[in-house]
């Protein structure tokens, strides 16, 4: 029997489980930082965190609010800067897994974090790429975290900020991209993965209580549901660590 948990908690745990012990992780602002901190405290104590603002390999005690936060430096091996993070570490091929968020995610895991509608005068303007486009291109593989609604999961993003599998097949390699591409999209409804070769998306799991058909209904492109299992719920230990150690304030995991 597992304890009750929120969707964000489930997502954080699912994302954390994408990290393997010993990997070097490029974590972005938000749930990725929670996932990385959780992974370090559970199955991947040897994973190394890298932040684009310059923090390298910290042993964080308190959740950072963003990747530039002083909290990313506690016990850190290095306090460097953007040049070191982006060139020596990311582009140098030293990042195993990168975490990305985004306002829109499309069929091939391409992400829009720039604008919806006309680019020059959009209906919604977002923060912009930050390092996301770079992580998407250059990390060994990426994990995407997103809110799952039909308008946020279109066939094609309005603006391709961060490259996923581009148009599927070998289109990513043909675009000249060297890094690995999206391994998983952890959403508010389930976990999507991509077929080797074709890079077509399939539903790997729906979250407890969510039907695969509901996930498809909230998705603007066809999703192979044939292998959809149920996302394993958080363990009591994972929830305990998340709530009491990783984000006791509810900075990202609001509890009210």
């Amino acid at each position: 029997m597992s304890a009750p948990f929120s969707t964000f908690e489930l997502m954080t745990v699912a994302a954390a489980r994408e990290i393997r012990d010993g990997e070097v992780v490029f974590a972005g602002t938000g749930l990725p930082m929670l996932a990385a901190m959780l992974a370090q405290r559970t199955h991947a104590p040897g994973c190394v965190l890298v932040f684009e603002a310059g923090g390298v390999d910290p042993r964080m005690l308190h959740l950072p609010m963003s990747v530039g936060d002083s909290r990313t430096l506690t016990g850190a091996a290095m306090a460097a800067g953007l040049m070191e993070a982006f060139t020596y570490l990311l582009q140098g091929g030293r990042i195993d897994v990168g975490f990305l968020g985004g306002a829109q995610v499309d069929r091939y895991g391409n992400i829009n974090s720039t604008a919806v509608g006309n680019y020059l005068q959009p209906s919604v303007r977002f923060s912009g790429s930050g390092g996301a486009a770079d992580v998407a291109a250059l990390a060994g593989r990426t994990v995407i975290i997103a809110r799952h609604e039909r308008r946020r999961f279109p066939e094609r993003v309005d603006y391709r900020t961060s490259p996923g599998w581009i148009e599927g097949g070998d289109s990513r390699a043909r675009a000249g991209i060297r890094g690995g591409g999206p391994a998983a999209v952890v959403t508010t409804l389930g976990v999507i993965r991509f077929r080797p070769g074709t890079k077509e998306p399939y539903l790997a799991s729906a979250h407890p209580g969510i039907s695969p058909e509901h996930v498809q209904a909230e998705t603007g492109f066809p999703l192979d549901l044939s292998e959809a299992g149920e996302t394993p719920p958080p363990t009591r230990e994972e929830l305990e660590i998340l709530r009491t150690t990783v984000d006791p304030e509810g900075v990202f995991l609001k509890r009210h």
Partner: protein
């Protein structure tokens, strides 16, 4: 001994309307906000602002109508403003010229400027609309000398044949930084992450540094490994304690959650933001009065960093 110390008002007067300016720091950290508020008070207009990951530093300048164009990768203020609010409003309303790059591309552009190169190569942005879509019109590129002739160029490596993206150098008239410590002679000590401050400084013709504390040049020369900006590249030094508020300065103080929330709320409309500017920028006659307006010494003490951590572990980020 050269003495480069000037006042905040003198520093603001060094920034003319129409200047190209880069601003140091990263999202909610170590931006020279006291200097930016002074610029707003001075009525500076038409700035071309270059940054990478900005927060309510650049957002303030946008909302106050000081900015003609922003070239950036990201504008947000942590959980308080996942999208910088004035930035969002001004772009959606077509009130701002802008150009989007990734953070690595902005890093590369500033590095090119700092290194005396006309371009810098990066491997990212291939296969994205960052390459396909341009914010600046052909007309602007032709007529505005501050605009790069092209957004980027994809070339084949002459050695391996691989596709590589070249991005154009940024050189600015001015770079504005806030750091923990500086000497009157212009030697600068950054604690915690460097962000892109060194490259931004060296890509500028003139560097103005505001600092929490003025210290003896000799003291900073005792650890030359920790100084990354040559003093002869720095033109002016301004001691401004709490000069990055409401943002954080590693080892000095944390960001101010209450003020960031208040800012984010105010910047959602022209009217509310005008009131914010009245209350916190035009109203207070100087930086000391600003610090009073945001809560005074008692409040600021609640932000103080704990030694050994660099931030305040007691800080509550959620109300």
């Amino acid at each position: 001994m050269i003495d480069k110390v000037i006042s905040l008002e003198e520093a603001a007067a060094l920034v003319p309307s129409g200047a190209t300016v880069s601003i140091g720091g990263f999202t909610s950290q170590r931006h020279p906000t006291a200097l930016l508020r002074a610029l707003v008070r001075h009525g500076v207009r038409d700035l071309v602002v270059y940054c990478h990951s900005a927060g309510s530093d650049v957002d303030l300048l946008i909302g106050a109508g000081c900015v003609r164009r922003v070239e950036a990768a990201y504008l947000a203020d942590g959980v308080f403003a996942p999208i910088a609010p004035n930035w969002r409003r001004f772009v959606e309303a077509g009130r701002l010229e802008f150009e989007d790059y990734s953070n690595a591309a902005m890093m590369a552009r500033f590095s090119a400027g700092a290194m005396g190169l006309p371009f810098f190569p990066v491997r990212s942005m291939l296969g994205t609309d960052l390459l396909e879509k341009e914010g600046l019109s052909a007309e602007v590129r032709r007529t505005d000398p501050t605009a790069a002739p092209k957004k980027a160029a994809v070339v084949n490596c002459p050695f391996t044949g691989e596709s590589v993206v070249l991005v154009p150098a940024i050189r600015t008239d001015l770079c504005l930084l806030h750091v923990q410590r500086a000497s009157p002679q212009g030697l600068v000590r950054i604690e915690g992450q460097e962000f892109l401050d060194v490259q931004q400084a060296l890509a500028a013709d003139r560097v103005i540094v505001t600092c929490e504390e003025l210290v003896d040049d000799e003291e900073l020369r005792r650890e030359p490994e920790r100084n990354r900006i040559p003093p002869f590249a720095v033109h002016a030094v301004v001691p401004v304690p709490f000069g990055a508020h409401p943002h954080s300065v590693h080892n000095c103080y944390d960001y101010d959650p209450g003020h960031l929330a208040l800012y984010a709320e105010a910047a959602r409309s022209d009217d509310a933001f005008r009131a914010y500017l009245e209350r916190f920028v035009f109203g207070p006659s100087d930086h000391a009065a600003y610090l009073e307006a945001v809560g005074g010494p008692e409040h600021l003490e609640t932000l103080r960093a704990r030694s050994g951590l660099g931030y305040n572990p007691e800080l509550r980020r959620r109300p």
